[in-house]
Symmetry: D2
């Protein structure tokens, strides 16, 4: 029986392994990507674009923290090409304001990881959530974007995510593909204009009331050939679930017909095979592109639910580290809905899973 | 770039590793459990009970296949106690009827793994689904039950699952705990008598119409101390999602407030901390017992969605291996709803995750 | 800090993973091989031949234990071919005589693992060494032989081992290749007839005096193309060292020029590159086929040192579990030199390393 | 069958994982240490001391490259203590002179990794060996030193290495422990004054003749309690062999009696147990502190052989990338014997193995 139970779980993948490091208000966040193929010409602009989609301060709907999130690659690239050696992506923390968090040093904020980190580690970097902050996902996006670009250029695989729900505002059909311009035309990354407007209103309202909203991201991956994924504990859906549920604030994952299939009959949702010009396809896609954990050549479609941001500006009752009941109010820089910024994170984690299986 | 993409993913866990082997109609299915502590007195009766809850032929609502599923432990136990050596659980296939599947040798059944295995491996053991059959979960339950028993006896952790939905029949509140007798009093493992009756009717109706039904299992884990789980890719919720989505026919996983939280405000679903007689608790449990991926001492509550069994007795259009369009009808032994039999599988996979983290 | 420190280390490999189970006098020993490619026609006779070379009772120079070591494959094969599913190799223990070991139940035999297992696990299967017995290597050989056969047939890689030293009797040059008939013409698997005769005399003498002898096995692997192995912790030499030093009773591993290179100058042992008909080769092979941890196309040559068998029939002073000083004498079935039987084990472990890297 | 065979092997360990990155003449080398316990006060001076023992330019016996090798810790430390989060150690390359290597861009230097990297990756960072350079071990030493310090302070385990052979100059008995002052009093880290003088002469002679020398490092680990290490593929000796053979230029590893035991009888080298004031010890230590792969409480003693540095200033025949035969002479900055600088590397890798097993 272990007394202290913590383990090195800051790496993801088996063949292409991303190792993450860094804290919200430390010197830097970053990642080391190991196992990436040699000879690939690195398109920094794509990586930076994904980082820019993730960073705070993109619009007045997000946190005002100012981070340029300029990535610096320190190894694994020579003459513009990958060498097969591990690639170190570094992002310095420029707008770290540790002193802003002094008043929270001994507070367990509701639905944050303050208490659980305290319970686990004894010591805790309380500044902006420390290691539990979503800021650390910048390193994931850097590595994931490289893999995403490789998959696109070498395997013709596209990974496309968008916001399909914020609060009570929902898009109708959420298994379609959209283009990046369609998605990013919207401040909240919802490709349906009318729904996007309603979402923006909802976020603005939440901001005004110092509250926060949850949401759902839909991800569609196309171009995956049949045969990707592995029985029995390496099912494509299980690996995706692991990757996606590693993202901060996620509370649910479903693939294809998802939870709705629980209420269906087999005769309603079985995907019949059909021959489309010599290619095997299914007539419907309730399976979400995977059967027995292995891809069948149809689009992979999954959805991920995010809870509302835990940080709100409304008074809340909670405890401090002495277990005294206290009242807290404002809390750092307020971000009423992080879901739009999570879009490139979802894409990156999906890319890491797919890349791990087929590169 | 790999031409053939398959990898050894028949093992689960890092500290307590279960390695699964076997096919539906081969000689045996089984598992090897490595890393289990020495000196634990093995209660075969608990393991066998969980296997009996999983096996076919329990009632006239399930597959008529007759398997005693008597577990034979071939290593790792000496004088009734574990020795720290790997424990091999073997279950011989007694009622294998490979010839029953001859007519399916060249058929890609809808929503089965026939086609994806064919695409991946080229060769395929078509008999009853071969490696993709849920029969292989017998080996998981054997190993998982040992871990579950250990967690209960040495850590006072209880893992309890029940059926909260079959087709359109739903239980109301699904984060409560129930006892094994309450759950197993019901043929469909639903602890609410009235709902259970409706579920049984639904399954009988599906059986009559040769159709199948999906459903939802709720799992409540109590007794986990604060501090279990690891940032950032070892989050307790992410590891559970991986384990649970590895179970055959699962399409969705959610924890705590789950998908419903997407439509909520932070002020509605933040879990405020409170001091209950010197113990830190939260007033609500929308987090489902985990914050920042680490347990907070509250019950872990998750739900998993199952699609309806792919095997139905109704005519379906599909393809054979020559890509000709064909019509198939009856299909092996019909099991109108496997969700009740999946209850011990969910418990076993949850036990493997928790055991991996704290034993 | 962990109180009890044991971990699941009964698996070897990353892509082709062998999981080992079983004890010397339990029901069975065996292994599960995961990740092996689909569609390979299994040649049971080769596997059985390697098992026969390992089993006790081959000649009057070895242990008299009678084990047929007939392998039974229980999964992963269909119509004579591998399916990509895990392959379970089972070998029942037929000549288990647990009662022969009753008198050793409370004894810590010198240079055996009795004490260290006791210290680690508290409980211990004392019968014939239990899990620490070399009998468990039968399962390794079963899996390793399949990989060895695959490497030979699909990659034209040959792995050939022989005994180059027993006690004070040494072969002269030990980086040459020999054929299986040349090697197995000798009871002690030494392909030099005169040296073989001297070795046999030495073993017979050791047997008479109830003593035991150590030795060295040389292994030559040919046919590996340049580029196999990985920096920095996946060096081919490091992976081979790990695999080979996992074999019971090994005390040393060296590759190419080995320990002798410590006394050489760079100008003496640098391997100059030369163009042999368009193929890059080195003029000498002090590197042993690997530079920077990666194969260079030359033969991989390594040597492994075995200590003398710990079990001897001579009186020895030692302790029992109560820490009383005692004298022990005969000890189970006496095997004066196990090195010849270790030849197929070395080949199997080398095959697992190479297979893991290139299949 | 994979076409390109490379894998992420830049991480070492299972519980405390060191991930290495960087090239000899890139921006930086470094490592990320994951799984290290929280709450440990970091003694930067010990880490820096070990780095200083490894760095070039320590004396006129080594490479003249000037690197301060000042470590910068960028994450995982808060208020001077570890937090349980991954620790990023960064060492900028200050004296990188990539242009010094322009003439080697298309040369396969003898016994270097130029050709094997070229064969594996196609592209290659040729500057000073790129990823294959021993410079990358600076990152290993940073992480390993932290673990070494922890083991010393929290487990009273000491890891002590020294040079026991350079070229033809050998120390007599090489299983004794020596203190750091005894070892570092010698420019070549040999604690026997007379032998040290002879070694220094040998190195100076090699330097004059533009040649290089190999050597042997002995490592003695004391304070390890019985029960550390794991059967069957996690044997303490096997894990040490893996770690140590990962160090650049190593050609052999032996533990306890090592290769000499091959020529001994069991009655000569069995380690009899004896009761020393209530503590179980062995009378001799031919086992080198491990039996059945598990520690027995005696000192762990191993030796590692290094080949002479491949870089020499003497003319050598070799090939260029066009496979033309060429003659090369001087090559970068000449280091006639790297063995003394490898002492802290051996200690660090040993610390990573032991730490992985017991922290």
């Amino acid at each position: 029986m272990k007394l202290s139970i913590f383990e090195p779980m800051n790496s993801f993948g088996r063949h292409i392994i991303l190792t993450s490091y860094g804290e919200s208000h430390g010197k830097a966040v970053g990642s080391v990507l190991d196992g990436f193929p040699a000879g690939f010409e690195v398109d920094i602009s794509f990586i930076q674009q994904q980082l820019d989609r993730r960073k705070p301060g993109q619009s007045n709907l997000t946190s005002p923290r100012k981070e340029s999130d300029q990535v610096d690659i320190q190894s694994g690239i020579f003459d513009g090409k990958t060498t097969g050696a591990p690639i170190h992506f570094q992002l310095l923390n420029m707008d770290a304001k540790p002193q802003d968090y002094d008043h929270l040093k001994e507070v367990f904020r509701p639905s944050h990881a303050d208490y659980t980190y305290h319970a686990k580690y004894g010591v805790r970097d309380h500044r902006g959530g420390g290691r539990s902050s979503a800021r650390v996902t910048a390193g994931w996006v850097a590595g994931g974007a490289l893999v995403q670009d490789y998959l696109h250029k070498n395997h013709n695989i596209s990974i496309s995510s968008y916001v399909s729900q914020i609060g009570n505002v929902l898009m109708d059909s959420t298994d379609k593909k959209f283009t990046l311009p369609q998605i990013d035309a919207s401040l909240v990354r919802c490709p349906n204009n009318e729904v996007s407007d309603l979402m923006i209103q909802a976020v603005e309202q939440a901001k005004l009331s110092k509250d926060s909203l949850g949401g759902v991201i839909t991800c569609v991956i196309s171009g995956i050939k049949p045969g990707v994924g592995n029985p029995v504990f390496g099912k494509l859906n299980a690996l995706l679930a692991h990757a996606i549920m590693s993202i901060n604030a996620t509370k649910g994952f479903e693939i294809g017909g998802g939870f709705n299939m629980a209420s269906k009959k087999g005769s309603e949702v079985n995907d019949n095979f059909t021959n489309k010009g010599g290619i095997i396809r299914t007539q419907s896609n309730f399976s979400g592109g995977t059967q027995g954990g292995i891809s069948n050549g149809m689009d992979i479609v999954f959805r991920v639910a995010f809870k509302p941001t835990a940080t709100i500006g409304i008074e809340q009752n909670t405890l401090n580290t002495s277990q005294d009941e206290i009242v807290i109010e404002a809390a750092g820089r307020h971000d009423p809905c992080v879901v739009p910024r999570a879009v490139p994170i979802v894409e990156s984690m999906a890319a890491l899973v797919i890349g791990d299986l087929i590169i």
